[in-house]
């Protein structure tokens, strides 16, 4: 785990040497740089005023664990996860202090009134409080946050109305440079971004291209291998107007494009001042977006990020983290909505008629609070997994965070609109604005629908590898007669929807959470059963059963969120946090709802051929396709 040691480093040579070695340890520069003389050390030193304040973190991550959610599909529950990841007390205090300061800064009038991320003063103000480059090296004036700290900072940043823009700059632009760029690029671009002087944009998407690996933007290396010629149009580039440089992904190896996942993409840093770059604002939208066109733009060869043809690895890592970062952003909006909703209800309450005391309002307030609690739990659990375990696979978990938090925020916003009612008819009302803000998280970049497919497929891939032999036996009953007959008896409890709950999760939780933990066990068992059913029934063609995949993804989400709320509330209750009893209440509500939902979902998977709604939806949809639209006659028509 972490132990955070603050040392007021005196300017002794030893420390200096050590830190600079550390700086160059990840460098891809030629080796001779390492053997620089002491004078050069001193010169380097002057660049870094804050060297004396550098906090060294001795990272002792636990060894990597098996992917949690993927393993749920084969019925393996990693009970270790039920100890909710936490930070050291010292770390927490430092973060809370920094966050407090940042929050105060963001609430100052000159910061609140900023409407564009293009405002340099705004960015530099943030940079003064080290709020840009949260995960970057401290030598570049970053903060080197661990994932859980990052979540806390992003949460605070998202309270500002430019939160989404800041998030894109931080998680896409800065992180790409931070993780993959070489030292020259870092010095040239990353440092100025962290200082607030420049702004980055991340150009990956193209309109009408549904598969990123089949994008139309191409780059060709010149004969003298000095520059690349870039051509194409990128759309929906967030911060595309104000940005000073753009990180562009382009196909550089046409032979492999679209066929081979690797070996085709390359990432470039392109200055927007380069000739041939033109942009057009997308209006109207809540968040600054632009279409950027590259027309024979010459990019110097040293502006390639990472390795040539290997940018898909960059994307995989950056997008994974970006999905996770949608969690704190949506939670911040949700929290604001809950606060505003209470304020609104309190304003309407009078002594004769205390609206806030009616069941109608209390039940809804309880519901939104529970949603927010679940969304927070799942965000921090995922960050904690990244934080605690070395190279932990949280692909699916990150996608779950994105889907769940954005949808929870959406549900909260509709509840707010319902309760606020006529006041929200004006477009500048908070409820309506929050609702539209949430829509950005549901529509920009990846949709939750595609995320669900992603989750389910990754889960099935993992399950398929582990269950291949078993599925083969189930699918060929005549070759495995005894096995098939035995399954009648071994599977009868699952077939009757009464799985045996033998995971003993309650042994890892506070006793007051024993009942909800049984409900989670039920969900996990049914997920395993549903997965097996799906694979056994359709074999490898289960990929085509999108309605079932969607249901499977929903079950995965419910299982993971249940785990998160149980783990968090158990921890809070055990260490006696304020209102921990209500956390337990929230957890039990969530598990209760989730269990009922999972029961229905699995039934729908199970009965898919006979009475599930999906099959009938598909049949109806087929008719709509054939008729090229809604085809039913109106309700009053008759012909005899």
């Amino acid at each position: 785990m972490f132990s955070l040691r603050f040392k007021k480093a005196s300017l002794n040579q030893y420390l200096l040497k050590k830190t600079l070695q550390r700086l160059y340890a990840t460098s891809i520069k030629p080796i001779e740089k390492e053997s620089t003389s002491d004078e050069e050390f001193n010169r380097e030193l002057k660049k870094y005023d804050r060297l004396t304040n550098i906090a060294t973190r001795t990272r002792e991550k636990k060894p990597q664990r098996e992917p949690f959610v993927k393993n749920l599909l084969i019925g393996q529950f990693d009970r270790e996860i039920l100890t909710f990841p936490e930070m050291e007390l010292e770390e927490v205090r430092n973060v809370e202090e920094a966050v407090e300061k940042l929050s105060q800064v963001l609430q100052q009038r000159h910061m609140v009134n900023v409407n564009s991320i293009g405002n340099k003063n705004f960015r530099q103000n943030l940079a003064d409080h080290r709020a840009i480059g949260l995960q970057s090296s401290q030598f570049l004036d970053g903060r080197e946050c661990c994932p859980m700290e990052l979540m806390r900072f992003l949460d605070t940043l998202s309270e500002h109305k430019l939160g989404n823009s800041l998030l894109h700059n931080e998680m896409l632009g800065v992180q790409t440079l931070n993780k993959f760029a070489d030292d020259n690029l870092k010095k040239k671009y990353l440092h100025s971004v962290i200082k607030g002087e420049q702004l980055s944009a991340f150009a990956m998407h193209e309109i009408d291209v549904m598969d990123i690996l089949k994008m139309n933007t191409t780059a060709v290396l010149s004969d003298d291998k000095k520059y690349w010629t870039l051509n194409g149009t990128k759309s929906l580039v967030v911060n595309g107007i104000s940005a000073d440089f753009v990180i562009v992904f382009a196909i550089t190896d046409k032979a492999h494009a679209g066929h081979d996942e690797s070996n085709s993409l390359t990432a470039f840093v392109v200055d927007k001042s380069t000739s041939g770059v033109s942009w057009k604002k997308i209006e109207p939208s809540n968040i600054e977006m632009a279409d950027i066109t590259f027309d024979n733009v010459q990019v110097p060869a040293e502006n390639v990020i990472g390795k040539v043809h290997q940018a898909d690895k960059i994307l995989r890592s950056i997008i994974g983290d970006f999905r996770l970062s949608a969690g704190p952003a949506c939670n911040a909006i949700s929290r604001r909505m809950v606060q505003n909703l209470f304020k609104h209800i309190a304003e309407l309450s009078t002594t004769e008629y205390n609206l806030a005391d009616t069941d109608a309002m209390k039940s809804k307030l309880g519901q939104v609070a529970m949603e927010l609690y679940a969304a927070e739990s799942v965000t921090y659990l995922t960050a904690g997994l990244q934080d605690w375990y070395d190279e932990q696979d949280v692909e699916v978990e990150s996608a779950i965070v994105k889907v769940f938090t954005s949808e929870a925020a959406y549900r909260i916003s509709t509840i707010c609109l319902d309760l606020v009612g006529q006041h929200a008819t004006t477009t500048n009302h908070w409820a309506r604005q929050a609702h539209e803000e949430i829509l950005d998280y549901l529509t920009v970049h990846e949709t939750n629908e595609s995320q669900r497919m992603f989750m389910a497929l990754n889960g099935l891939q993992h399950a398929g590898i582990n269950l291949a032999a078993k599925i083969k036996r189930i699918r060929n009953p005549f070759f495995n007669a005894t096995y098939s007959l035995m399954r009648i008896f071994t599977e009868h409890r699952q077939n009757e929807d009464k799985p045996k709950l033998d995971l003993e999760l309650n042994a890892h939780l506070h006793p007051s959470l024993s009942d909800p933990s049984k409900q989670l066990e039920y969900c996990v068992k049914r997920l395993e059963f549903g997965t097996e059913r799906l694979l056994a029934r359709h074999g490898i063609e289960c990929i085509n059963k999108h309605a079932d995949l969607r249901r499977l993804a929903d079950i995965m989400i419910d299982c993971y969120v249940c785990t998160a709320v149980l783990a968090r509330s158990s921890r809070s209750y055990c260490i006696g946090l304020q209102f921990a009893d209500y956390e337990v209440l929230a957890a039990s509500i969530y598990c209760n709802i989730a269990m009922e939902r999972v029961r229905t979902e699995v039934r729908n998977l199970y009965f898919t051929e006979y009475k599930a709604t999906d099959r009938n939806y598909i049949a109806f949809g087929k008719r709509v396709v054939q008729s090229k639209g809604y085809c039913l006659t109106n309700a009053i028509s008759r012909f005899f």
Binding site: I212, D312, T447, S450, Q461, I540
Partner: protein, 386 residues
């Protein structure tokens, strides 16, 4: 004999004795059926419907009125009249008109044919009359004319609730609405008379097997060397364009036809552009191999996995259909223009492919939509022959 009449006519039999049929009244003044017409050529038949000059709904209804007015006291020969009227419906263009059928039924007297007792009811009271109306209802059904509820009242008044025509009517009212929209290839009702519109409908129907199909209208006049000046309705989908571009340049493509497609009674000639059949790949992936599921990180579209290489609907056993068309003249020249148009319209590969025209003797007419005049002329000559 008497018992038989008693059963048929019930207690009203005593009336028959008092009635006498005038001897000079022609036994048959209307033709009953065509078979009789063929067999008994010696009988001179007078068919008033044939003599009508201006055949339309008004004159048809007039004919009925004349019949009703002629002897409204002892109305005789209803059945023969109705059969004759039914036979000529198409000539008057009223075969799809419900009102006409209702006025034909109205010819029969009300109340007279209603059975008075259980025996009459059971043994088809007035069988000839009942059968006549059943035939009328059958003809309605053949012409897809859905009866209305007023007709039920008429039939009940004529034959009573035990009558066979009423039962037939009830069955029709049960089934006909159910069949009305059963066709998977619905056509507009009424069907357009214009061959151009019909050709468009036909080509649309043929090519809607592929969702990406596109119907394009070309004019032969746009091609410089063309002789004909007519239209071409061409159907080609994006898939077909793609298939055509993959055609081996050594293999010729064939323009074949004419084939016919029927739209209700009318048939349309159409032509196809066909290439050599593609080899069929019979290999497939074992669906049990669940350890080979691919999960893509970046795709936003729902993934699709096919364990066999399914050929497109255009790849048939005898060849690959690249396009279909119908032209205004069905002439070889217009087909040549079609090929030229296709070449211009994104199929540049056609310029380099050998194209073989394997046409059967094509008619000049694309469709046989007979006009009223033509039909009458034809029938007149037939009658003249007899």
């Amino acid at each position: 004999m008497f018992v038989k009449r008693l059963i048929r006519q019930g207690v009203s039999i005593h009336k028959l004795k008092t009635k006498s049929v005038p001897e000079n009244f022609p036994k048959r003044c209307f033709q009953i059926s065509s078979t009789q017409f063929e067999e008994n050529k010696s009988i001179k038949i007078r068919d008033p419907f044939e003599d009508v000059k201006d055949k339309n709904k008004d004159t048809y209804l007039q004919m009925i009125n004349i019949f009703l007015d002629r002897d409204h006291v002892y109305r005789r020969g209803h059945v023969e009249f109705i059969y004759a009227a039914l036979k000529h419906m198409k000539d008057f263009g009223v075969h799809r008109d419900l009102e006409v059928y209702r006025s034909l039924i109205d010819v029969l007297p009300k109340g007279k044919f209603v059975p008075q007792n259980i025996i009459q009811a059971e043994f088809m009271h007035y069988p000839k009359q009942q059968q006549c109306i059943i035939d009328l209802l059958s003809q309605m059904e053949e012409n897809h004319v859905l009866p209305d509820f007023g007709m039920e009242d008429q039939l009940l008044a004529i034959f009573g609730k035990r009558g066979y025509p009423v039962r037939r009517y009830w069955r029709m009212m049960y089934w006909m609405p159910k069949w009305k929209y059963a066709s998977p290839f619905p056509l507009p009702d009424p069907l357009p008379k214009d061959t151009y519109e019909l050709a468009k409908l036909a080509i649309e129907r043929i090519s809607n097997v592929d969702a990406t199909n596109q119907i394009t209208i070309y004019q032969t006049g746009d091609i410089t060397d063309s002789v004909d000046d007519t239209w071409i309705v061409s159907g080609q989908s994006a898939t077909q364009k793609c298939l055509l571009s993959e055609n081996d340049p050594k293999d010729p493509v064939f323009v074949e036809g004419p084939f016919s497609v029927f739209l209700h009674g009318n048939y349309i000639y159409y032509f196809t552009l066909r290439g050599k059949a593609r080899p069929y790949d019979n290999s497939y992936q074992d669906p049990d191999e669940v350890d080979k599921i691919e999960a893509n990180f970046f795709t936003y579209k729902p993934p699709i996995k096919s364990i066999v290489k399914t050929p497109t609907v255009h790849e048939q056993e005898d060849g690959v259909i690249y396009a279909v068309c119908a032209t205004g003249t069905s002439s070889k020249d217009s087909l040549l223009s079609w090929i030229r148009h296709l070449e211009r319209d994104g199929n540049s590969v056609l310029g380099s492919l050998p194209i073989v025209f394997t046409l059967r003797t094509s008619n000049r007419e694309i469709a046989t939509v007979e006009t009223e005049d033509q039909r009458r002329e034809k029938e007149n000559t037939q009658i003249g022959d007899r």
